[in-house]
Symmetry: C2
Subunit: 203 residues, 2 copies
Amino acid sequence: MYLKNNIRRLLVYRQCLLKLKELGFEVIYSYNLGREASVSPEQVRKDFSKFGIKGKRKAGYEIDHLLEALDIIFKKDKDQNVILVGMGNIGKALSNYKGFAQHKIVICAAFDIDPSKQTKSYKIPVYPVEDISRIVKMYHVKIAIIAVPKPAAQEVCNRLIASGIQGIINFSPTNLKHPKNIFINNIDLANEMESLIYFTLNQ
Amino acid sequence: MYLKNNIRRLLVYRQCLLKLKELGFEVIYSYNLGREASVSPEQVRKDFSKFGIKGKRKAGYEIDHLLEALDIIFKKDKDQNVILVGMGNIGKALSNYKGFAQHKIVICAAFDIDPSKQTKSYKIPVYPVEDISRIVKMYHVKIAIIAVPKPAAQEVCNRLIASGIQGIINFSPTNLKHPKNIFINNIDLANEMESLIYFTLNQ
């Protein structure tokens, strides 16, 4: 599944707005934000309007007002607990990724089949995969990250879904089978590289 | 920029075909591949046909023939050299990522401003960022990965483009300014998580 582009754009707008606010701006016009986000001013107005956010014809949008509205859309009033399965290279990098905290995304627990990686002394506790169901229920977790090797990914996916997980971000380079009511966002790093290479060398 | 979806689908088909080949299949129908890749059989036929790949009405597609055709499209006859800037958590994980080698993507050099990270004894040599232009020219590199902290990303991007880089995969959570003839594929991990959370909690 590819997630819808208007939600992606709202998240890019949010990023640009935070940057513009840091630079001291208080009010912004759709053409400013569009230029910053590399989209047309019409697209900016359309996207905001779709979510009931209105600017003033000549006075533009107040940045603080926009950020508040986006925080409501993305439920930024409280932390969002997620779990991480697989503490290899990618898993470890994600567990250390500072960008999540700024978005109120908290990796509350990690899991690995390797007993030498299971520890409670690391800043995120690492449990055996058999504990997934218990932890998901304890922390009311809805979202998981899969960062296990390809051969293990489908089994981990099944276990997550059986435990009550509803959305998965999958770093394992394989297309996971899943029921239709479960959201899966695949990030296949080699495929991302390949499509970039394709467009660059074929332009 | 969001890369076009048909190229992404071809890469997913390739992944599924390799898996089906491993399982012992030799011939495949568009509905088999569609089911495996979670797209419709019509879409599979349309995507292949667009790139001049034809199946036989009742005999389906030969998997080896499809894989060869995809290898030609994605220029898989030789290794593709790329460079990596930033050896923090994400950079290190990418430098260890085994999935690239399978796709003939080779990180031939990495760069970091921190002298303690600059070494030639690591399996990928790590140079100071001042050496980017020299190395890009020496290895005829066209593609780069940015994995530096947000405040450094634009400067690194400018330096890469000035050195002759034409395509960039950007893991830094910021929208980079760039000339129109340069391809940038942004992978913002927190935004990927947020859009997944949005769709999961709003279904």
